[in-house]
Subunit: 200 residues, 4 copies
DNA sequence: GTCTAAACGAGACGGTACGTCTAGTCTTTCT
DNA sequence: AGAAAGACTAGACGTACCGTCTCGTTTAGAC
């Protein structure tokens, strides 16, 4: 009784909801978008939305999860700097313009909703990091990075600058800025960092 | 007529509002906190809040702006790595626990409110960066960093890892993780990054 | 969309609102009664009240319209003076005590709200006058009044004294006062009034 | 301390308040008029209004009390019917148009405020009735009315029709309607009413 | 002609209720 | 049984006035 049966679910309703959500998010911004508005635009009852999703954040996540392939593409030309510039640039494009990007909105909403945040990790972040790690392994194999590279450090340094600027409204980095940062990060990963002083 | 007169403002009411805001934000989280709730706890009328602030985000900003000195302190012991570890650690502590930190909430709210975001930059971020730049200049003077260091790159690389993990709910970095990242960043800034291939 | 569907209306909510309105009007007086108070007492959301009524006056009107039968009863014993004394007395009772009578409050509220005033006419006054006219026709048939009687004059003279005293806070007329006035009015209607001087 | 000193009262402020009240009452209607609005229009502080009056009804009463002479004028040409037609007509004019007449508004407000109602009686109604009684005594002296005439009945019957129509939004009576009613009332007062059946 | 106490303008304050909005639940009817 | 429609409870929103309360600033009577 309590749990709906996915087999009988209306694909028409599901699709209409997801598309309306993307449209409204772009038009009004996530904060001004309402579940009532989605239901009305999708020609769907509110109940149907509440039956299948627990919040408007989850709806948006599902709407975006199907499309996020672009940013998760990691080119592998054999030139790590060039590839990471391209990859980070595609992430920046996904987040632009900051005001109306559904991805940026989703990330922001994750800050206020722990459940959504966890879902984002599972559906978007973890797969992304898995592909990132693959590319790093490829770079190690190509001797562009040392085998000892710390992938946790790597992902934080490559993407950190983008989110640092995102959260403080400093303006997303443009191409040259991104390239400078990528070059610094690659250098850092190759050097292994400033050595710790000998213990004792 | 339309604009209230700051001279006649009640300091009692102002203080009560700011304190209630911090308390409620910690207790319920920013999203569940309401202006009605702040007014009631502060023993203040809603009108008084609306008279002086335009949103609950602005209230929280003002409440925090007076206290943010801690994170904006940049120790200068002569050892850049050690100082930046300490400094970034204090930032992480300010943002912990992620769920109930008023600072983390404020940053998150800035993502949905451009006006608030701009105010945060002016009141918190810009002064912070100014002090950061000072410390970097000191490091240059002490020959810990090259004179050619790009301070925009530096701030993004030092703080980016923290916000990268914050926005994706990856857990804020702990001490050892922070140290590893700081060491990489310092190395990167010293190296000046992987050189660009000669043009043409 | 904008207009609610009466078929789906909750009878429970409607009844609870009307009863709470009467109770509160008697307890606090109409002026001190609030829509919030009605909603709370009725266990109903404010939205539900605003959906179906446009003002607290309209709510009270609907609450009273169902019960106003008493005052609209016109006994017909064959003795016009006796019957009109009884009838006007029942009107006075409906308006007593002046302070807390919902009917008196409704009439007063009609003075400040033209829309309500019109609704009162349609729902209460016009049906009342129709029954009054019937009784007058019966009196004409019984030769208690001349066929030439002006019913507009009649209704004004029978009920005017009550409202004259009501609006000026002169105290509603008691039984003997009412009887004296009714006797004068009947005499006036029988006489046809002081004759006009011949024109020219 | 608590009671203000009438000697030092500012006549300028008093006059400005009374005039603004009349103006706003005509423009917006009594119900929509606010003390804040009066204060602003009069260039007076709210405190000044609250110092000298206890409600906006009292303000309006004082504003009108100075001007009500017209309606309280009772012509005495020796022709009672003609004089009372003129007099009641001037009352009707004072109450027209029903929507925006400050007098009608004041009467309506008296329905919701017993203190105001009492003040209206003292300042307006009682003096009016005193003059009415004078005119009736004159009519008795001129043998237009019997010496046994009941003045309470008389005032109710002359003015009742006006207020009956006022409170029910039936439209104030026009000249011919008034005349018809006056003629009936005079006839009723002359006849002394339908006689009571002999007791026992 | 000062002095001084009170009335004044201005408007911030704690409140209350307004009428609107959206959330999330529940009910009815149709498919 | 799922879905469309939409009424329902709940409660926050931002606004409008209320009546009270400082603040300086006139201002008018007493000295």
């Amino acid at each position: 009784m309590g749990t709906p049966d996915p087999v009988r679910r209306s694909e028409r309703a599901r699709t209409a909801v997801l598309e309306s959500t993307i449209d409204l998010c772009r038009a009004d911004g996530f904060a001004r978008m309402t579940i009532e508005g989605i239901a009305e635009r999708a020609g769907v009852s509110k109940k149907t939305i509440y039956r299948w999703w627990s919040s408007k954040g989850e709806v948006l996540l599902e709407a975006l999860a199907g499309r996020a392939e672009i940013a998760a593409a990691f080119p592998d030309s054999g030139d790590l700097v060039r590839d990471m510039c391209a990859q980070t640039m595609s992430v920046v494009e996904l987040l632009s313009p900051q005001e109306t990007s559904p991805y940026a909105s989703l990330v922001a909403e994750g800050q206020r909703d722990p459940a959504l945040s966890a879902a984002i990790r599972t559906r978007l972040v973890d797969p992304f990091i898995a592909r990132f790690d693959e590319r790093m392994h490829s770079a190690v194999a190509a001797r562009e990075l040392p085998a000892s590279v710390d992938l946790g450090v790597a992902v934080d340094l490559f993407y950190g600058p983008i989110y640092h600027r995102l959260v403080f409204g400093l303006g997303l980095p443009d191409g040259p800025q991104l390239e400078t940062r990528v070059r610094h990060v690659v250098a850092a990963l190759r050097s292994g960092g400033v050595p710790r002083p000998p213990a004792g």
